[in-house]
């Protein structure tokens, strides 16, 4: 994955840049020592590393504004960073960039149960947002699997999803307002404790813009009361076609589960070896979860079980209590860890129309043989958000490149069947050069024109999202 060459002019001015940043931040909030900046050299896409010029850890909106103003004046690129859990390289620095980390900004500013929102600084982790309101029975719905570590700032930048999107939506559907600092240091307030925009939906535009339009320092998030209860069922099938049909039939029957998760045989085998959740060995396993009171759950599960049973399952297991529910989820939640035990893996997240599921799984299986790399599939089936995990050996020369090539072919297939390159991880650097597969030049031009408005000098996280050749003239200007 190519990154632009660092600016010699910026590198030569490092001391002056650090000095000016030190003048507006506390001493320990500016990290410039080469041994320490290494901590910021990559995010969760660890195949790519580059220590930044320096890293800053501001504590509030004013400090963020001061940092950006200086970087803007001095023409220094800035890479915003939440918790560094991006699988797409969204927080990968360049050698001439300042990493702006929001980790210190983790306060809860306001909770309001009557109006059902919480306002937080965006360095706060996803799970700790729920942690701040659960004593009152509330929760924050988007639940990316990195929720223990990932920051709201990164969730907003990538418009993160999770397992329960089918019912609750993704970040953009749960975000009510932000305080954002523009690259020139201007602070803007967008949205608030009310719903929808009075003018253009700038909030919707910012959510998912991968930290390229501004740095979001505070966010107003919608909170909901927890359901009375939730319970999953597990079902196993002999073919992914049948499992795909079950998913479609459940949705068409008018039941809206909160989650429909899918695992294929390679993934089940790895998971069983690792977590011993007692899953049946079959081609396709579904976990379907519904919510409500005890009676409501019984009623919905009864409907779902009838549909499931009519498709000749190899196994059908309903959780009767919390313990059994835990066991059903155990394997799914360990799936990534289990695959990681076998080898290094690359996790993609292309989305496809649910109807294309059997075809795409079949093609991935064929491609796995062609490339000679194993792949396991575990994903959110209700919304078509795939997660093929391609196994490779990082120590074997050429294996990473082969894996990336395989991954690119899978993503092209997703686009071909009417889907997209990324459903929840974001483009970052990982899928940047595939954007031409999904978009025509004029589509990308329209998106880049948006960045021109927010960040005319293209200083903010500029080497991401758009193919380097496509954004070249703007970045060089």
């Amino acid at each position: 994955m190519e990154m632009p060459a660092p600016s010699a002019s910026v590198l030569s001015r490092k001391d002056k840049i650090v000095e000016r940043l030190r003048a507006v931040l506390p001493r320990d909030a500016v990290i410039s020592d080469v041994s320490e900046t290494r901590a910021y050299e990559c995010d969760a896409l660890t195949a790519y590393k580059c220590p930044p010029l320096c890293a800053v850890l501001p504590a509030n909106t004013e400090e963020v504004a001061a940092v950006l103003k200086i970087c803007h004046e001095m023409g220094v690129p800035v890479v915003p960073r939440g918790s560094g859990t991006s699988l797409a390289g969204g927080a990968l620095p360049t050698a001439d960039s300042v990493i702006l980390g929001v980790a210190k900004m983790n306060a809860v500013i306001e909770t309001n149960y009557d109006d059902r929102y919480i306002r937080v600084q965006t360095g706060r982790t996803n799970l700790s947002v729920t942690g701040a309101v659960e004593q009152n029975g509330f929760f924050y719905a988007p639940d990316p699997s990195s929720q223990l570590a990932c920051a709201i700032a990164g969730n907003i930048a990538m418009n993160s999803g999770g397992a329960h999107c089918l019912k609750y939506g993704v970040t953009t559907n749960n975000l009510m307002g932000v305080t954002m600092v523009m690259m020139d240091g201007t602070v803007v307030e967008i949205g608030g404790a009310h719903l929808d925009a009075g003018g253009l939906d700038l909030l919707g535009l910012i959510c998912g813009s991968e930290g390229q339009l501004g740095v979001v320092t505070e966010a107003t998030l919608r909170i909901l009361h927890k359901p009375e209860g939730a319970r999953p069922v597990l079902m196993g099938y002999d073919s992914s076609e049948v499992a795909g049909q079950v998913v479609t039939d459940i949705i068409k029957a008018g039941v809206l589960p909160v989650a429909i998760e899918f695992m294929d045989r390679p993934c089940i085998e790895a998971t069983e070896a690792f977590a011993k959740a007692g899953y049946p060995m079959c081609e396709a396993l579904l976990i379907v979860e519904v919510e409500g009171s005890g009676d409501e759950i019984d009623y919905q599960l009864d409907l779902i079980m009838k549909i499931a049973a009519s498709h000749n399952p190899v196994e059908l297991r309903q959780a009767k209590d919390a313990d059994e529910a835990g066991r059903i989820w155990l394997g799914r939640k360990s799936a990534f860890g289990a695959m990681g035990q076998i080898n290094d893996y690359m996790c993609l997240d292309g989305t496809i129309p649910v109807s294309s599921l059997p075809f795409v799984l079949k093609r991935i299986g064929e491609m796995s043989k062609e490339f000679g790399l194993d792949v396991g599939n575990v994903f959110h089936a209700g919304d078509g958000n795939m997660h093929p995990l391609i196994l490779f050996d990082a120590n074997k020369p050429g294996d990473l490149e082969l894996c990336e090539e395989f991954g690119a072919e899978i993503l092209k297939l997703c686009v071909e069947v009417g889907g997209c390159l990324t459903g929840e991880h974001g483009v970052g650097i990982e899928k940047r050069d595939l954007m031409n597969v999904q978009f025509d030049p004029q589509d990308l031009e329209a998106q880049m024109a948006v960045k021109d408005v927010f960040d005319p000098a293209w200083l903010l996280n500029a080497a991401k999202v758009f193919p380097l050749a496509t954004s070249q003239s703007r970045r060089a200007a």
Binding site: N159, D201, Y299
Partner: protein, 381 residues
Amino acid sequence: MTPQSEAELAEIIAGTNGPLHITGGGTRPIGQTQGTGLSTSKMSGITLYEPGALTIVAKAGTPVAEIEAELAKENQRLAFEPMDHRGLLGTKGEPTIGGVVAANVSGPRRIAVGACRDFALGVRFVDGSGTIIKNGGRVMKNVTGYDLVKLMCGSYGTMGVLTEVSLKVLPDVETTGCVLLHGLDDATAIRAMSAALGSPFEATGVAHFPKSMHGDPVTMIRIEGFEKSVTYRADKLRDLLRSFGETSIQIGDTDDGYGSKKGWAWVRDVTAFADQPGDVWRISAKPSEAAALTAGLGANAVQYDWGGGLIWALMPDGTDLRGKLGPFDGHATLIRGKVNTPTFHPEPAPLAAITAGLREKFDPRGILNPGLMQAKPAVAA
């Protein structure tokens, strides 16, 4: 002008110099603009409908009624419950799906499931230079590139002319129920609505009328789902809300009850103001501030939707409502009437600069609905 295809539309826009007044079915004339009429109504038809994937794709000029009928065949629906403006605005014609998206039109269920913008998955449009652009797609989870779908949704044709939209749909429900609270004053009603929305019982419509269709104050809380579940949750909600005042429950679609389809259409379409003189304002606010906001308005009538988060105010002709409201967390739009004040809520300077910058990029010649959504009075002083 009524282009038949996206290509023809692109040609028209590229070839024109003058301003264009863009409409779908022309049923929502909100705000003032001028220019040659350009309607998308002849670009019509459902392109793709996959009930199992909960998605529908349709050309911008497709009548909303056609889409709803097609969805009904599969027992599905547009869950954001788009309002029909014809009664309130005294317009005729056929509301189009492009118009719904362009104006981000939602209804009472917005409070539970989201607005039109939350269901909009993809768009195709022609920008002010005549370039055809697509964004988003037809899958529910998509973070590939910037979300221009949101930018287009609610931009009233000022950023481009929609040619095709793709939407997420949801299953229709078996039964609808309604818990009613009778005789509450506005402030108490809003506390009751907040209690309902802060419960686990999933209210999908929460509205309060200081003066209902029968003249008395009524607070309506809708519950939807399987019959057994609706009955259960209605009982639970009634228990929860009993301390606020007199309660009653309606289950099923009665002919003329508050909780009927007709009753909720009455809420959705602001039917109470349809044949009343005066200006109509739509205010998005923090629910807990709603009662205090309306208290000083001198309105002829108000009604609350979204648990108090959406206020409809019927004002004496020519009243500058924003002047009376003062600064607040929210925005107000003039939906009907002529007042010497902007139709859309003026933005603070830095946001207005962003908006102007975006418009300049997407419509460099300023020909798409000029004047609309801009911070100048709808009528000259």
